[in-house]
């Protein structure tokens, strides 16, 4: 395998992806990601000089609209999905650690 994923890299990816991995998951992820990157490295066979990166199949422009209040009061429906609420607010655990 050409791409050896280090513990540091997996640690970093875990931070970016906001995932905490068990020891077993971490080892599996190193293997899987290394294999996938080996495969993706196939793209390096291609000379892409002069090819502009294409994010969408067609040229898309930003679509603007007036910032108008249009929706009804969906507060109760939305809060019904909240894992935890306090009155009309979403409740969250402590933001600052003690």
């Amino acid at each position: 395998m050409a791409n050896i994923i280090s513990d540091e890299t997996i640690e970093y990816v875990g931070i970016l992806a906001k995932l905490s991995l068990s020891e077993e998951e971490r080892e599996q992820a190193k293997k899987d990601m290394g294999r996938m990157l080996d495969y993706i490295d196939k793209l390096n066979e291609l000379d892409t000089t002069g090819a502009e990166p294409m994010s969408h199949a067609f040229a898309v422009e930003n679509v603007f609209r007036e910032d108008e209040v249009t929706g009804g009061d969906g507060r109760e429906e939305m809060l019904r999905n909240a894992p935890a609420r306090k009155g009309d607010m979403f409740a969250v655990p402590n933001v600052m650690s003690h």
Partner: protein, 509 residues
């Protein structure tokens, strides 16, 4: 009348003619579900009572003359990544196990306005990431043709439900083949329109530059009729009245008076969406290209044989069929998985346990809560793609991986442009093999990804494509034929697919 043998459009016509009712149709479907669902598990959510209530209401409006469309009163299934107001929408993930949307996806609203009646929500790969419907947190769906095999994926529940008569047609989403491949594996028709044809508002995003909603049905005509309605053709913002305000049957909680199109900035407001007018049995003079690179190693002999027999049939009917080199086919999968993973990692950041969905309940601090929630809420395949996506977007790797893939994507699009200068349609297989056995794909993700080779470049280039049944393997498992058109050329692939389907029905193929 044996309603379950009818196509969606035939049923719609029977209902309009007063020979059947929406209620009878729903009862027939629910009975079929009762018989088969234990063995197949096509659905994640079905509320029979509410489905019947909706059918009663549709029938009332049909009789009152308020609904006269081709799919009015016809029971349909909806992939569980399309938001449904008041009905759970799980994306087959533990993360959204208890999520009930406050609004309905725009594409589905178009169909509901036209009178189609929702039965329930179909099973899928978790967040549409997978090709077998086995990554669902709620258990696998089985192939109606042989329950030892998968139905394909990610819209496997929708494809299996159509094949088993557990609905008359269904909605799916296609990011890399997720409509066409399960349609092929289950022996039904599945269509992915040109990127931007159907509003993605209310579709839970996976790879936003690739995702498109489309229909699965028993016939090409059913798919054309459904797509015509899905595409909507709403008024262009600023050019007309608000599209929703005057429509009856709005989902509760949906904002009134907004021009819906504005909420998906990639929606193209197409006016050329009269897809059913393309259904003509005539391929004389049609230029069809067969990419030699779609018939290389890895393609099963039985699939090759069926697809080539279909090509011969087209030739016999006067189409100009020839082989050509598309090029770059082997680079589509690595480019696709880089881009799709990158977009997935960004799109799935929203699942943080704050406003909806799963929350790990023992975390005492915010940051730890995020991590625990996501680690417990997502399954292995989703985590794998989020991690890969985070990596290819991270500083130091962004240019080498993500931008490189976008450059390759541009080259793939150019290769298709060159092909469409010469051909009306590209013809090839949908998948290299028929449906694999359950459990065969999960232990080797890369192998599963390789099965997407004929479908994913279509998403990279934004093209329309359709999968039509063209045969069976030695075990009776269906084989699909793929017809790929240039952007906005749905009409050509629909005409080719419809013609082929009719020739086969005549016993000529």
């Amino acid at each position: 009348m044996e309603l379950l043998t009818l196509s969606a459009v035939e049923l719609g016509a029977a209902i309009q003619a007063g020979k059947a009712t929406a209620i009878e149709a729903m009862e027939a479907v629910l009975r079929r579900i009762e018989e088969k669902e234990d063995a197949l598990h096509c659905y994640i959510t079905i509320d029979k009572e509410k489905a019947l209530e909706r059918a009663v209401e549709a029938q009332r409006r049909i009789q009152a003359g308020e609904l006269a469309g081709p799919l009015a009163g016809v029971p349909m299934a909806v992939k569980d990544n399309l938001c449904t107001a008041g009905m759970p929408t799980t994306c087959a993930s533990r993360m959204l196990g208890n999520f009930v949307p406050t609004y309905t996806a725009e594409a589905l609203r178009n169909l509901e306005r036209a009178g189609a009646v929702v039965i329930g929500k179909t099973n899928m790969d978790e967040f549409a990431m997978g090709s077998t419907t086995e990554t669902s947190a709620y258990g696998a769906t089985r192939n109606p043709g042989n329950t030892e095999h998968v139905p394909g994926g990610s819209s496997g529940g929708s494809a299996a439900a159509v094949a088993a008569g557990e609905c008359f047609f269904a909605l799916g989403s296609d990011t890399g083949g997720s409509i066409r491949q399960p349609a092929s594996h289950c022996g039904v028709v599945g269509m992915k329109p040109t990127y931007g044809t159907v509003s993605r508002f209310g579709l839970v995003a996976y790879g936003s530059s690739l995702d498109q909603i489309g229909p699965l049905g028993r016939t090409v005509e059913d798919c054309a009729a459904a797509l015509e309605i899905l595409a909507g053709a709403g008024p262009r913002a600023g050019q007309g009245e608000a599209a929703s305000g005057d429509m009856p049957g709005e989902g509760e909680g949906s904002p009134e008076g907004i021009v819906p199109d504005r909420r998906d900035s990639t929606y193209l407001y197409r006016k050329d969406t009269d897809f059913t007018s393309a259904l003509k049995k005539d391929v004389a003079g049609m230029r069809i290209g067969i990419p030699r690179d779609y018939f290389g190693p890895g393609l099963s002999e039985e699939v090759r044989h069926s697809v080539m027999a279909a090509a011969e049939l087209f030739r016999g009917k006067g189409a100009l069929v020839e082989e050509f080199d598309l090029s770059l086919v082997e680079y589509a999968i690595p480019a696709y998985y880089t881009i799709a993973a990158a977009e997935a990692s960004s799109n799935l950041e929203r699942f943080d346990g704050i406003k909806y969905g799963y929350r790990a309940n023992d975390a005492q601090e915010l940051h730890r809560m995020y991590k625990q929630t996501r680690s417990e809420g997502f399954g292995p395949e989703v985590k794998r793609r989020i991690m890969l996506g985070s990596f290819v977007l991270s500083s130091g790797y962004y240019d080498a991986y993500y931008l490189k893939a976008l450059r390759v994507k541009a080259m793939i699009k150019k290769a298709f442009d060159r092909a469409y200068a010469r051909y009306d349609c590209i013809l090839g297989p949908v998948a290299p093999t028929t449906a694999p056995r359950l459990g065969q794909s999960l232990d080797d993700p890369l192998k599963m990804y390789l099965g997407d080779i004929y479908t994913i470049s279509v998403n990279l280039a934004g093209l329309p494509a359709i999968s039509v049944p063209c045969g069976e393997d030695g075990n009776g498992l269906p084989i699909g034929l793929q017809l790929i058109g240039d952007c906005f050329q749905e009409e050509k692939i629909l005409r080719a697919a419809y013609s082929y389907e009719q020739f086969r029905k005549d016993g000529q193929g």
